[in-house]
């Protein structure tokens, strides 16, 4: 019964779409990444984060920021990040 199968599957497909959408929002959240970059700098300046850890984390975050900014630029207006 195609119709019944569709109805049964629909909630799961919707849930998967929501999870996928949340993951995309997290990945492309430019504000969040910029905040983490600033926090990383703050903790390093306060002496709470060793230089090696600080540099490693900064490299990761800068790479994430490049990806997020490129995504926003390429999709201009089609990516909306809700905080």
């Amino acid at each position: 019964m195609l119709l019944v199968d569709d109805l049964l599957l629909k909630p799961f497909v919707s849930l998967l779409n929501t999870i996928h959408s949340m993951a995309i929002q997290e990945m492309y959240d430019v504000s969040r990444i910029r905040d983490e970059l600033k926090e990383n700098q703050l903790l390093y300046e306060l002496g709470e984060r060793p230089e090696a850890t600080y540099r490693e984390r900064r490299t990761e975050l800068e790479a994430q920021l490049d990806v997020a900014e490129a995504a926003h630029e390429n999709l201009s207006g089609r990516v909306e990040v809700k905080r």
Binding site: R34, D35, K38, E39, L42, L43, L46
Partner: protein, 207 residues
């Protein structure tokens, strides 16, 4: 040969050279004027300098030297990365923005910026009255202040203060008094900086 001009900020009518390295190693730091407005510049090969730690530090160092070399020279800072194709395009921007630059120079006349962040231990909290007390005491020692983003859960206060160049010591004493009274809080005190958070000049893309 360098073609472009990296621009650090704008001061009131002046002419000088500073023998320090600017962004991308550009030296000397010199001036380009249009009427009574003077831009602080160094030569640069690219229109898009890399935002490296070293370049950002040099941008700030140049502005600090501009302030210190004349015992508190007023400067309206540019954001990092402002490059003009030639002296002609720079002068054109000074001409079109002269009213905004003049107003900004008046707004921050004789002032520098100092920054104060209050940081709590991981997982700790601080009550609103404490933050209000600290903010009030420091604001009383400054001409103006602005609230900046609380970009981390560890931050309970992040403010910039506009302080007269000659009043920095009095402000530092107010910061020390806060440190003494709230020993469980970490106070990160920085500056003097050019007054980045107290001027707002938008320059268009036609550079």
């Amino acid at each position: 040969m360098s073609e472009h001009l990296y621009t650090y900020g704008v001061v009131d009518d002046d002419e000088f050279e500073l023998a320090i390295e600017g962004v991308d190693g550009g030296t000397p730091i010199r001036t380009v004027s249009y009427r009574s407005l003077t831009a602080i510049v160094s030569d640069i090969d690219t229109l898009e300098p890399e935002r490296s730690d070293e370049n950002v530090r040099r941008h700030d160092d140049v502005l600090r030297e501009v302030i210190e070399s004349a015992d508190g020279r007023t400067v309206v800072p540019m954001q990092f990365g402002m490059v003009f194709k030639s002296g002609r395009t720079l002068k054109s921007v000074l001409r079109s923005g002269r009213r905004a630059f003049r107003k900004a120079l008046l707004d921050v006349d004789g002032m520098v910026e100092l920054g104060v962040k209050i940081v709590v231990d991981e997982g700790a909290t601080v009550d609103d009255d404490t933050v209000a007390d600290i903010a009030e005491r420091l604001a009383a020692a400054a001409e103006r202040d602005v609230e900046n983003d609380l970009f981390s859960d560890r931050l309970c206060m992040n403010r910039s203060y506009l302080v007269a160049y000659d009043d920095q010591e009095a402000f530092s004493e107010a910061v020390q008094a806060v440190r003494d009274d709230y020993e469980d809080l970490t106070v990160q005190y920085s500056g003097p900086w050019a007054p980045y958070n107290f001027v707002d000049i938008q320059i268009g893309a036609a550079q």
